[in-house]
């Protein structure tokens, strides 16, 4: 399936981009993150991240659909 990834903060720095489209057989965010961490050298354990699909927080076992926008959210530091 094809997914749209958005990257922020240190994940964007590591990926060297703020977004990308990927082809993947990953069916949930957990599997997709494992693939992308391998590819881009992400070092955050999933327990330190939250995941959003199509602009809403969801869980790591959410079933992904073709064309979904997936965002892995590193610990926030606003304020």
């Amino acid at each position: 399936m094809r997914y749209r990834l958005l990257y922020f903060a240190s994940l964007a720095d590591l990926a060297g981009r703020s977004s990308e489209d990927v082809q993947s057989t990953a069916a949930d965010p957990a599997a997709l993150y494992a693939e992308l961490a391998e590819c881009h050298g992400f070092t955050f354990a999933p327990t330190r991240l939250r995941v959003a699909v199509n602009g809403a927080f969801t869980d790591w076992s959410h079933r992904l659909a073709d064309g979904d926008e997936v965002v892995f959210i590193p610990p926030v530091s606003g304020g």
Partner: protein, 146 residues
Amino acid sequence: MSGFRLADAAIDVHAGLRALDDPGSGACVTFEGRVRDRNEGRGVLRLDYQAYPALAEAEGAAVVAEALVRFEIRAATAVHRVGALAVGDLAVWVGVSAGHRDAAFAACRWIIDEVKRRVPIWKNEHYVDGESGWLHPDNSPVGARE
């Protein structure tokens, strides 16, 4: 009028205050978060805020909506900057109006704490020594809820 928004230019505090005008409110509490010149002992020259806009606005709006249910307040609004800020710049503004001061103080404090904890905004600090880095506080577990 209540709500949350991201601002890519200087926050208009007076507009925020006008949004809280309400004859039934005997208390108005505001919080200004400003860029400090030091963090963890390092000199800070400036910083950049980056947000995931769609989710930041939705989550910020959820924080304000939850505050309106949780506290005896009449209006609440919060604004967070994105982009490049200098030391002393206003980074985040929270305003709450309520019938009485206890609820206004408590809600204002709760909103800024929740914004800092939940809203997908990140700070990249540029230090006096020329280094810079994204802040990712280890508030583990990240997804924890009260």
